[in-house]
């Protein structure tokens, strides 16, 4: 990832911290639940016991207890992630040295040992995000490297409907077919047609990654593989993969 992405992550991490502090900090809530801020001097934020604070540009939040009979979303547990990765990557896993990454980082990722901790921390902490980025880069690298030398496409994890020489411009249909496969396999999301905006975003990512890797030259095999590795990392770090 380049600098813009790092800046994006840093900005979001700051927002993450701000979000986590919000109910406690921010502006002091007046007892009457009235308005805070100097009138006419910039945006005002309505706070109070019954009106929790939202970011200024945050869309309205549905009261989850207001009679809507639905499930809540939850982050995958570490055990679920560990079991799922070989399914989407056809046997490939996250490794830290010779150990499975989820085992090696279990304590840090909040897996309870039922001695000093008895409840799995399913918060999406900055530490969790960092290790999931590690996981995605390592596992995708293994999968794409193996795919590159696997002649049988049905045995590949990422390049299932494309060949390493299929470029974004030369083999657009095959690229889109592969992206549809990846969205369904990784996220359980089915893409309808070629005008699915989510599919278009992934295609854009693939094209940009290939072009960036090629550095202005005609894309070759290594650049295409870098493009697929980027798509794989994006999918494994997407919220749709981590929440259900």
């Amino acid at each position: 990832m380049g600098t813009p992405h790092r800046g994006h992550v840093r900005g979001c991490l700051l927002l993450l911290v701000a979000c986590s502090c919000m109910p406690l900090g921010g502006a002091p809530a007046p007892a009457d639940g009235g308005l805070v801020g100097s009138a006419g001097a910039g945006p005002t934020v309505q706070v109070g016991v019954a009106t929790p604070v939202l970011p200024l540009d945050h869309p309205p939040v549905v009261d989850p207890l207001a009679g809507t009979a639905s499930a809540a979303a939850r982050r995958l547990s570490v055990a679920q992630l560990k079991n799922s990765l070989p399914v989407v990557l056809r046997g490939h896993a996250w490794k830290v040295g010779n150990a499975d990454g989820f085992d090696a980082r279990a304590g840090t990722l909040g897996v309870p040992d039922y001695v000093s901790s008895v409840e799995e921390n399913l918060e999406s902490t900055p530490l969790y995000l960092k290790f999931m980025a590690d996981m995605a880069r390592d596992a995708c690298n293994r999968a794409v490297t193996a795919d590159a030398v696997q002649a049988d496409p049905t045995q590949r994890a990422v390049l299932r409907f494309v060949e390493p020489l299929d470029t974004p411009t030369g083999s657009r249909a095959k690229v889109e077919e592969n992206l549809r496969y990846l969205r369904l396999s990784f996220l359980g999301l089915r893409s309808e047609g070629t005008d699915d905006p989510a599919l278009a975003q992934l295609r854009g990512l693939f094209e940009q990654a290939v072009a960036a890797a090629a550095g202005g030259n005609v894309p070759g095999r290594a650049h295409v593989l870098e493009g697929w590795r980027t798509v794989c990392v994006a999918l494994l770090t997407s919220p749709e993969f981590h929440l259900y």
Partner: protein
């Protein structure tokens, strides 16, 4: 709190999405509740019931289906993934990891380098035993090396064939004078230890420690050399194959504690995938035992220290004759007052006091937790008037708010040793022992009321308040945890709690059954009744919950 959580999820979305999702508006992630499509439903079912996402081929198989077929749920419930998922689900409230509990009464055998570059031999790592054997706690001589000395002992008392008795005054025991004190070094001998599966594997062990004398006379009684009361007998060692001594922790204690956790898992398997009613989890007298657990109970548990755990087998507890290295499991009927996981060693060692056992039972199987009162009671207030102090917590001001209920519950576990696993039968542990009043003996201080000024001095501790003033404690002691569990089942609390827990696990939020938002109270009643009528079939309950509209909608 919920707003904060949702904001975190939005942030998670932004951070995780990276380049691929940077343009996606946040309102897509804060959408209104809606039905999930069949692919997302399959993913949800697979993650909840099998612990992993579906494969691409499984998604493809849905293409021609209007929804996820009921047969898919049935198939998921029959997988090993479901068993594993149910184990994890139950571990979250059974907390079966006891790897931090020191099982070894006296110190375990420890490998020791006898001389720089010389032999490494095992010896009991206990200062008192070393002093008993060799005259000093830490022997190190230039001629022979450390502790027993680096030479092989081959001469044993011929009057006791096969016992490898070492005569400290024999010619092959080397004597030295260190700091004016005579010390003995007896050398080592080869022994095949019980923790090694390969009979060809032998280790060096200091010869005093390796003696195989079966019994010793202690206080005029003949006792096993494997019993803690014989620990001060010089002729006693670890016995044949070192069976009475804990070996290296990674090869013995850690194997046993891992087996105790697995034992709980196997009890869960019986109710999750084995067809047994869920009530067996708290009622069954049967348990599975493997070689490490059997060896621990049979041979190692007698080698105890009264200040640590007390895990001798019950008087009537069947202990299979399996060697330590036997990994296969065998079902035994423990009988008596045993009650499923509530009397498994992992439960007793994880929750070491009777109060904590009772409290965790309430939390785990009745979904109830004690909360302190909002106001303190003044001494003498209330009816009956409360006491400002005293050890009877059912009478003490403020404390009694919880303890009037907790003490009888705790008493239902009273027949089992606290910080231990043993059913304290009346023959070995009389309910009153007058000789313990004022005594400083380890057994008395561990198990009896020794203070002459206390209530009911000389009583076995759980029986201290088993009197006319506390009839509920008397009955709870006699009935045991099984009766407590049975009462919970009969009242319906057990079924309602099982439903609430499973709903929370699968729907990922609490049921709305309290206060103004109790729109799911009727559902709780229906599911609890149905669960009971199904014969407490856990798979039935799981199927019901994943079939609810709530499960198939998300916000």
């Amino acid at each position: 709190m919920m707003v904060r959580w949702m904001c975190l999820q939005v942030c998670l979305a932004w951070v995780l999405a990276g380049v691929a999702h940077a343009q996606q508006p946040a309102d897509l992630r804060c959408s209104q509740p809606h039905e999930v499509d069949r692919f997302q439903l399959l993913r949800r079912l697979s993650l909840d019931l099998r612990g992993r996402v579906p494969s691409y081929e499984e998604y493809l198989a849905l293409e021609q289906q209007p929804s996820v077929p009921a047969s898919t749920v049935e198939a998921y419930l029959a997988t090993d993934g479901f068993k594993a998922a149910m184990r994890r689900y139950h571990e979250a409230f059974l907390w079966p990891n006891v790897s931090n509990v020191p099982l070894a009464g006296s110190a375990p055998l420890t490998a020791l380098e006898l001389k720089p570059g010389g032999s490494t031999a095992y010896a009991i790592n206990n200062n008192a035993r070393r002093t008993l054997y060799r005259g000093a706690g830490d022997v190190d001589t230039a001629a022979n090396g450390r502790q027993c000395g680096d030479f092989e002992q081959t001469a044993f008392d011929p009057a006791f064939p096969g016992q490898y008795r070492v005569d400290p005054n024999g010619a092959t025991v080397r004597r030295s004078t260190v700091n004016g004190k005579t010390v003995f070094q007896e050398g080592w001998r080869w022994v095949h230890p019980y923790w090694e599966a390969d009979p060809a594997v032998k280790v060096k062990i200091c010869a005093f420690d390796a003696q195989e004398i079966p019994t010793a006379t202690v206080g005029g009684k003949t006792v096993s050399c494997g019993d803690y009361t014989a620990n001060n007998r010089r002729e006693c060692g670890c016995g044949p194959g070192l069976k009475s001594c804990f070996g290296p922790p990674q090869k013995v204690s850690q194997v046993i504690t891992a087996s105790l956790r697995e034992q709980v898992g196997r009890a869960v398997d019986r109710v999750s995938a084995g067809g047994a009613p869920y009530t067996d989890l708290v009622l069954s007298t049967r348990a599975e035992v493997n070689g490490p657990i059997a060896t621990w109970k049979r041979d190692l548990s007698h080698n105890l220290t009264l200040g640590r755990i007390f895990a001798r087998p019950d008087a009537a507890e069947p202990v299979p004759a399996r060697p330590f290295t036997e990994e296969a499991w065998e079902e035994v009927d423990r009988g008596g007052l045993h009650a499923g996981v509530l009397t498994l060693p992992a439960w007793f060692l994880r929750f070491q006091t009777n109060r904590s056992r009772a409290n965790q039972f309430r939390i785990a199987f009745e979904c109830e937790a004690f909360e302190p009162p909002s106001q303190l009671e003044a001494p003498g207030s209330g009816s009956p008037a409360c006491h400002a102090d005293g050890t009877d917590l059912t009478q003490r001001c403020t404390c009694r708010y919880c303890h009037r209920q907790l003490e009888p519950l705790a008493a239902s576990f009273g027949a089992f040793a606290e910080a231990g696993t043993t059913l304290l039968d009346a023959a070995a542990f009389p309910r009153t022992l007058a000789s313990c009043v004022g005594s400083t003996a380890g057994l008395c201080r561990r198990f009896y009321v020794t203070d002459a000024d206390a209530d009911n001095p000389g009583a076995l501790l759980p029986w201290q308040y088993a009197d006319a003033a506390h009839p509920d404690i008397v009955s709870a002691l006699a009935a045991g945890p099984r009766a407590q569990a049975q009462a919970s089942i009969q009242s319906g609390a057990f079924a309602r709690c099982a439903v609430k827990r499973m709903f929370r696990h699968l729907v990922k939020r609490d049921m709305h059954v309290l206060g103004a938002q109790a729109e799911e109270a009727a559902l709780l009643g229906e599911l609890a009744t149905g669960f009971e009528q199904s014969g407490y079939a856990l798979p039935w309950l799981v199927k019901q919950v994943v079939g609810l509209p709530q499960y198939r909608r998300v916000r």
